[in-house]
């Protein structure tokens, strides 16, 4: 009885916390169907008093929404795939191969996570400029190919795969390439899902770096486009909310797809070492 009561209380608390977390998103979604004057009105209603689609229809008045959306999707998918692959292969090497300087190398990878991004952004910008990669997706994809966090996560995760499986494969004549692609990759599914979700989210919402290196409107990304709604003197909230509502759909889908593996992956990486 006591257990049941505490479970109800816990669920109630979680329900309240969940509602508080989700409410701003729900408010934003409904507000995307309101006029700006209603969004800014003194008397606030959750549901639109006057339902309009203009914020969606006129979204292109600020920038080419569809183009920016597809650009973001392309860059995010490519970066996520690359990071997943490089993190898994580096994690595999650092976890399952014994060589001199392995711990130093891993420490070096970890140290890259500890340098604030604002310290590296100007040298990174100068390098990209001198490579002639400005206004090109090379500037977005190549520096993002390796992730210290991803390598760390995958090293921890792959450590949980028994060495015996790898040794058995070697005895059966499997080469290292085969072992990685046919044994490690499928067995690291949960860790890969976690990295994929994190990386997808970070790349999708990254604003400053794409903004600094991309100039052409036809190559620009959605996170930069969303900032265009903030004018010098005013903000077009309705259009901003409409664009944001659409922009979060891919992230939701990715999470929805991988949530089971994501949770398992996080838990596994946290306890195995």
């Amino acid at each position: 009885m006591k257990r049941k009561a505490s479970s109800i209380i816990l669920n109630l608390i979680l329900l309240v916390v969940g509602a508080v977390t989700v409410y701003p998103f729900v408010w934003m979604l409904f507000s995307s169907f309101k006029k700006n004057s209603e969004i800014m009105a003194l008397e606030q209603h959750l549901l639109p008093q006057e339902f309009i689609l203009d914020n969606y229809v006129n979204m292109n008045a600020h920038f080419n929404f569809v183009r920016f959306f597809l650009n973001s999707l392309l860059v995010t998918v490519v970066v996520t795939l690359l990071v997943v692959y490089t993190s898994t292969i580096c994690g595999f090497v650092l976890s399952k191969y014994k060589f001199k300087g392995r711990n130093f190398l891993f420490g070096f990878v970890l140290s890259t996570m500890m340098i604030p991004w604002c310290v590296t952004i100007i040298p990174k910008y100068s390098m990209i400029q001198s490579f002639g990669w400005m206004d090109s997706y090379k500037a977005l994809i190549i520096p993002a190919m390796f992730s210290g966090f991803g390598i760390f996560m995958m090293k921890q995760h792959i450590a949980s795969i028994p060495d015996e499986i790898i040794e058995a494969a070697r005895i059966d004549g499997a080469n290292e390439f085969f072992i990685f692609h046919r044994i490690i990759l499928p067995m690291a599914k949960n860790g890969i899902s976690s990295i994929a979700i994190f990386q997808f989210l970070w790349t999708w919402e990254d604003f400053l770096w794409p903004y600094l290196v991309i100039n052409s409107q036809e190559k620009q990304l959605l996170a930069v486009g969303l900032k265009m709604f903030n004018g010098q003197y005013s903000t077009d909230y309705g259009a901003l909310f409409a664009a944001t509502a659409i922009s979060i759909v891919p992230v939701l889908l990715i999470y929805l797809f991988f949530q089971k593996q994501f949770i398992a992956g996080i838990a596994a990486s946290a306890v195995k070492g």
Partner: protein, 458 residues
């Protein structure tokens, strides 16, 4: 199965919404020339003193491409680009639109190398960050002075790097419906602050002790729209003789601050707790009058289109002010001194075209609700059709620009006002503190006030 259904439903929703967005007008900004509207290219020289001769070739007629960086108003810029490229088809100007706030991070980084934009939009509040990257304008100073007001304030060692195409300042916006309900007519438009206070009292509504309609609301605005401007009406400048020492604890500033306190606490025409921002409160139909700068006209037209409003000139203390208010300029473009010489030549020519082109000047000023700095446009019909500009036309020469003041002047006075209204600090103490704070913050600034260049300087 369930997950699949949700996935399909969300994909369908996303696709429907993105295709809806694709249907919208605007269809993404064309960054090249405007293919739909054919732009007539003038053949005869045009302009006042600054003349633009379309027959003079640029870059010897050879193809050249430059970038123009700006924020916010891409249609406006594209019109000027289309006009210019119609005259010079060998020139291609790529417009790069930026979000306002982050433009000031990206632009200096880009200008630091040799691959930055040849032309870029300037705001004088970022003067110190940009001036070292700018090339002086290739137009004789006398020509600029002949055609535009306020040029002298932009002269640095005999050279001009940018000027103002328009001047923005504050006016009183009033709700016409509330005005009528209070039994007021056009004849009641106040000329002095005493009259303003009486009108504000009539426009104030209470339900018992509870304020339900403010006659005047200056919440979150008092520093920008009152303290930094009304001092001029009383003959006091914002900076002392040396142009560097602030003058914000002057008697004039204290008088203005006292008037604001009295309006809320003695007259009861508003309250510090009645709406976080006066501008929003006016739009929400809660306040009858606000003093706002020109940009508010466009905000009312777009965000608060339901409000029927009128505009009148800011009142004065005695009808004969030293100056009516402070103004700030909307700046012309900058030329990147690190850009290749041929690109700089295009940039210089483009700015000359912009300055000589009356239509571009009118369009930019109407879009920003700024009064044209071009002297020949002061009585232009289209300009005077905009009520927020019409009210300025009579005394526009009696407004002062103090120069690109460091932001500490505004923020310190904002804090002073908040201390007075919310923390019970007395006016003298709060303004003295603001004075000390500004002096401290300006130690490393190269700012020198240009108030002494005011035409009616004492």
């Amino acid at each position: 199965m369930m997950k699949k259904r949700i996935f399909v439903a969300m994909m369908a929703a996303a696709m429907a919404m993105t295709s809806l967005a694709g249907c919208g007008s605007g269809a993404g900004k064309s960054t090249g020339g405007n293919a739909e509207a054919k732009v007539e290219a003038p053949t005869e020289p045009f302009g006042d003193t600054i003349k633009y001769d379309p027959s003079v070739e640029i870059n010897d007629g050879k193809d050249i491409s430059v970038e123009l960086w700006e924020w916010g108003s891409d249609d406006l810029f594209q019109q000027v680009i289309d006009g210019y490229t119609a005259i010079h088809p060998n020139v291609s100007i790529k417009l790069v639109n930026n979000p306002w706030e982050d433009y000031w991070t990206k632009l200096p980084l880009a200008l630091d190398g040799d691959k930055g934009p040849a032309i870029f939009n300037v705001h004088n509040s970022y003067h110190e960050n940009l001036i070292n990257y700018m090339a002086p304008l290739d137009i004789p100073l006398e020509d600029l002075q002949a055609d535009f007001t306020g040029v002298d304030a932009h002269v640095i060692d005999g050279k001009v790097y940018y000027i103002d195409y328009g001047m923005m300042t504050g006016s009183v916006y009033y709700n016409k419906k509330m005005w009528e309900e209070a039994g007021l007519t056009e004849a009641d438009i106040p000329k002095t602050w005493d009259e303003m206070r009486e009108v504000a009292k009539k426009l104030t509504k209470r339900d018992g002790d509870k304020l339900i309609q403010a006659g005047l609301n200056f919440n979150d605005d008092f520093h920008q729209n009152y303290l930094l401007g009304l001092n001029y009406q009383l003959g006091e400048k914002l900076f002392q003789e040396d142009g560097r020492t602030p003058n914000v604890n002057s008697d004039a500033m204290k008088k203005v601050m006292q008037m604001l306190v009295d309006m809320y606490e003695v007259d009861g025409v508003g309250s510090k707790d009645f709406g976080e921002k006066g501008a929003d409160s006016f739009g929400q139909g809660q306040s009858a009058m606000v003093i706002q700068w020109g940009h508010y006209y466009n905000t009312l037209k777009t965000t608060w289109s339901d409000i029927d409003f009128g505009v009148f000139e800011i009142p004065t203390f005695d009808g004969n002010p030293y100056a009516y208010n402070r103004y700030n300029g909307e700046s012309t473009f900058g030329v990147n001194k690190n850009a290749p010489a041929d690109q700089q030549a295009v940039a210089q020519d483009f700015i000359k075209y912009f300055l000589a082109n009356d239509e571009a000047q009118i369009n930019f000023n109407l879009a920003m609700s700024t009064f044209p700095a071009k002297k020949s446009l002061a009585n232009n019909e289209k300009i005077l059709e905009n009520p927020s500009l019409k009210v300025l036309s009579e005394h526009i020469d009696h407004y002062i620009w103090p120069g690109p003041m460091p932001s500490t002047v505004e923020t310190s006075l904002k804090k002073a006002g908040q201390d007075i209204f919310f923390n019970g600090v007395d006016i003298d103490t709060a303004l003295n503190e603001a004075q000390e704070n500004i002096i401290k913050d300006m130690k490393n600034s190269s700012f020198v006030s240009v108030e002494n260049l005011y035409a009616f300087d004492k």
